[in-house]
Symmetry: C2
Subunit: 216 residues, 2 copies
């Protein structure tokens, strides 16, 4: 009898799933996006995929380990998305950092499971190597872009550590509010992107030209 859960198309179910780690991560992302992290259960994931309740432990040390792996994957994908957004914004470091901030929010809205994993306290204090590396890479990306924006005239004289903390806080805080706050539920992505742009424009203007012409 063919099984829908087998990883080998057209083959009878075998003892070895063949791709269980990936399947667990994909299914976990679905469950989190639909029902939140609190609804995540290793046993339920195993049932959904059609393996025994102890099979996940061959791939993840524990539940927090799976969440950390999911967050690491999300962090890597977000770095790629941020770099693409910066590239698309051209050469102006101010425009690039503005694009980075907007993409941070947009990525979180489009990848709800990753966003929820990022802000989960157990994930945040996890010492998983891949996650720590992904987070460090993310911090380097943001830091380099913040330094370039400052060199181009954004908040000269302010400690770049503070600028990085300020801009990251605003972007991730906005993403979190758009995800959780009831008043934004169901908001179309385009409208949320416009709102994200308005917020990020208060953090850093959309271009160096806009920066020079700003008067408060």
């Amino acid at each position: 009898m063919l099984s829908l859960t087998t990883s080998k198309a057209g083959h009878p179910m075998t003892y070895h799933h063949g791709n269980l780690r990936i399947a667990l991560l994909d299914r976990a992302a679905e469950v989190i996006a639909e029902s939140g992290i609190e609804a995540l259960s290793l046993r339920a994931l195993a049932r959904d995929i059609g393996v025994s309740h102890a099979a996940p432990s061959r791939h993840f040390k524990d539940k927090a380990d799976l969440l950390a792996a999911l967050a690491a994957e999300g962090q890597r994908r977000m770095i790629d998305a941020l770099n693409e957004a910066a590239e698309a914004a051209g050469d102006d470091p101010v425009a690039r950092y503005n694009a980075l901030g907007r993409e941070c929010i947009r990525f979180s809205l489009m990848n709800r499971a990753y966003a929820l994993a990022f802000e989960n306290p157990e994930v945040q204090r996890h010492s998983d190597k891949a996650l720590l590396e992904a987070r460090a890479a993310y911090n380097r990306t943001v830091r380099q872009a913040a330094e370039a924006a400052q060199q181009a005239g954004w908040h000269p004289g302010v400690d770049v550590d503070v600028l990085q903390l300020f801009s990251t806080a605003a972007a991730t805080g906005a993403a979190s509010m758009l995800i959780h706050d009831e008043q934004y539920q169901g908001m179309p992505l385009e409208e949320a992107e416009r709102l994200a742009a308005q917020i990020i424009n208060l953090v850093i203007p959309p271009s160096s030209n806009a920066l020079r012409s700003n008067r408060k």
Copy 2:
């Protein structure tokens, strides 16, 4: 035999705790501050307080209900703290809103359990009446202060909804990062308060005078 858990000083343990709801909330705050929300267990709280495992259900519908009650209590206390900070800042609406932002971060750092409850997804989607009212009161407080600051010259021409979202995102995002990010663990409160001031000063200057003299 006297029991340390009895609510009536000097009285033998009675069947009725007398103050169980408050005791559960207080102990929950301790556990959350020490070990995080994931470590919270109704049964463990009951054991700690010396009542049976089902006693909490007489005061809280379920675990999420207890968390929501804790968050509502924290929200009310935060509103009081924000109002006190604004009063202490004087009459300048820009200075008052700046003080509000700083106090939001300071309060979260000093009340870790409340801060963790605020950002917990189950709490955020909870429909507990007291929590919704507290949250609405908080939003009114922030909204009125944002409108006054705008009237005094802060970001004229920007939708005040966007200003409120921007400033709330920056303050709560910074609080969350200071709480969770490993590099800020163990930072003395005074140093964290200075950092909070630097961040909030990027959101809104410390006074209307500073607003007028800003050039970017």
